[in-house]
């Protein structure tokens, strides 16, 4: 313990070894919100879905919006981490762990939401008893369970060397770290085994991540409901997912940088690179939104136009234009100008993008149901306190999960940083040498 205090990376061990008052206060607040959400859900179980704002025509509300929203956020984490690792981007080292944790926690929270949407949660077992794979709902179950397994394994395998470090260098949770480290000793053979496993996982995780959000979009696009039946929904959802996930990663990085004093690890350059990705995806998102609406408007199909008008100029216009401002106008302004592209500016823009992407999910789910083709009497959808409580509970559970993780494991990969210090420079140099053309002097100033 004493020698650890003099370690150059003690800042990374500190959150695990030392706990201040602030941590317990945040923990209590989060636990309080989760308990409140738990109570509201218990009430929903007792009285049924009548306590929500759902009604006969509008059968999907907050729960499904949050399901798509949370699953979307989860996509960027592992995807960004895997792409950066595969492309051997050296600046990835302090980022990958946080990205992977986001995926594992948020995916779990998102996956629970369809169960919240069931008045009788025990009926989820029908999926296993009587499920049929011709239903996109079942594709979701399969895809999410596949992605959750892949991302959990992908989080765990690169964590093993750090768990071994904690086992050997700290006196906390000794038994737990012993169990989780799987006997890792840091030998060349062990490093080789982990390296191979990680390479296989990186290759699997990328297509799985892309396929999952495509499949999520299928629960809408496979119906012939106006506003949902679209061929570009798959890629549109994937782009939106990476966009919102990158914003969440930036928010998490900035929050923990401030909380645990990671300024020396998460430097300005990391935020500059990630915010560039955010800017690119903002443009992609705008392009897909434009394509989605222009094809509908040009087709001029009456039912489709009802929904488009409802979104652009009707009751949902404030949400639609709010979404456009938060997801496109603000990111373009803030992230294009060096003066505005500060860490504070990036943080505020990312928060805006997260809200904007939630609004996008709202705009996709609800307006199609509020304009049904059948002659229903329409009761506008207003979320109830139960739905709001469960949404707050979901967000608190995410923060709680992250906070507990930070108390057990390092939020920044220690072994990857060390590897970067010892081997990264030579590796990068060797790679650069291999990229550049060989220079052969054939005499005088002539090069071939």
């Amino acid at each position: 313990m004493d020698d650890l205090r003099h370690d150059k990376d003690y800042t990374l061990y500190k959150p695990i070894l030392e706990t201040d008052k602030r941590f317990y206060i945040i923990l209590l607040i989060l636990l309080g919100v989760v308990a409140w959400a738990g109570y509201m859900y218990f009430r929903q179980l007792q009285t049924g879905l009548g306590v929500t704002g759902l009604n006969r025509a509008i059968s999907w509300g907050f729960y499904i919006i949050n399901f798509v929203f949370f699953i979307g956020i989860s996509h960027a984490g592992t995807l960004i981490s895997a792409i950066l690792r595969l492309s051997q981007a050296e600046w990835r080292r302090p980022i990958t762990r946080m990205a992977e944790v986001i995926t594992a926690i948020v995916l779990l929270i998102g996956a629970v939401h369809p169960i919240l949407d069931l008045g009788r949660p025990d009926r989820i077992l029908n999926v296993f008893y009587y499920g049929r794979l011709q239903s996109p709902l079942l594709w979701d179950v399969t895809a999410i369970s596949m992605y959750f397994t892949a991302s959990t394994v992908y989080l765990y395998v690169p964590l093993i060397p750090d768990i071994a470090l904690l086992r050997d260098r700290t006196h906390k949770f000794k038994w737990f770290y012993n169990f989780c480290s799987w006997g890792y000793q840091g030998t060349e053979h062990h490093k080789k085994v982990l390296g191979k496993a990680m390479t296989i996982l990186m290759v699997i995780v990328i297509p799985v991540a892309v396929s999952v959000h495509t499949v999520i979009s299928f629960i809408f696009s496979m119906t012939i409901q106006p506003g949902w039946h679209s061929t570009i929904f798959g890629p549109y959802f994937v782009v939106g997912a990476i966009f919102s996930g990158t914003a969440t990663l930036l928010v998490v990085m900035i929050a923990f940088r401030k909380m645990y004093h990671f300024e020396n690890y998460l430097k300005e350059i990391h935020f500059q690179y990630l915010s560039l990705l955010l800017l690119i995806f903002s443009i992609f998102w705008a392009y897909f939104t434009f394509s989605e609406f222009i094809t509908g408007i040009y087709g001029n199909e009456p039912m489709e136009m009802n929904i488009i008008r409802y979104k652009l100029f009707g009751d949902y216009a404030p949400f639609f234009w709010g979404m456009v401002i938060l997801n496109f106008v603000i990111p373009i302004i803030v992230l294009s100008f060096k003066k505005l592209k500060t860490i504070k500016g990036i943080f505020l823009t990312s928060c805006g993008v997260i809200i904007g992407m939630w609004l996008e999910r709202l705009i996709i789910v609800v307006p199609s149901l509020t304009n049904p083709r059948l002659p229903y009497e329409i009761i506008p959808y207003v979320p109830s306190l139960t739905e709001c409580a469960l949404f707050m509970g979901g967000i608190s559970l995410f923060c709680l999960g992250f906070l507990i993780f930070s108390k057990l494991f390092p939020l920044i990969s220690i072994w990857e940083l060390e590897e970067g210090r010892t081997e990264g420079l030579q590796e990068a140099k060797a790679r650069l040498d291999s990229y550049l053309p060989n220079v052969v002097i054939t005499g005088g100033n002539h090069y071939e």
Binding site: F128, G131, R132, L133, Q134, L138, W139, T142, S145, M146, T149, A150, V153, V157, I160, A164, R167, D168, K174, W175, N178, F179, S181, W182, G183, Y184, Q185, G186, T187, H189, H190, V193, L194, K196, A197, I200, L201, I204, V208
Partner: protein
């Protein structure tokens, strides 16, 4: 890395082994469920091709994930045994 004595605890090894076995139990469960869905779709003559297509993607991915974990587990413990022999 000087915790050899604790790491060799049979309880910890048993727990680690159980976690790998649990992963395989989970994967076997998923595969059984997928096979059941496939059987049902053939019996009902309902979307058999789609079901077969999905099964052909899902089953190998789950097996691959469990195999990667098993490979890591064996890789970690194999070397430890060799080290013990050297000692």
């Amino acid at each position: 890395m000087n915790n050899r004595k604790k790491m060799e605890s049979p309880w910890i090894y048993a727990m680690q082994l159980s976690s790998v076995i649990l992963m395989w139990v989970f994967v076997t469960g998923i595969i059984t469920w997928i096979f059941n869905l496939l059987r049902l779709s053939i019996y009902l003559k309902d979307a058999q091709n789609a079901t077969l297509g999905i099964s052909l993607v899902v089953i190998p991915v789950f097996i691959l994930l469990a195999s990667v974990l098993t490979y890591v587990f064996i890789g970690m413990h194999k070397k430890t045994d060799e080290q013990q022999k050297n000692i």
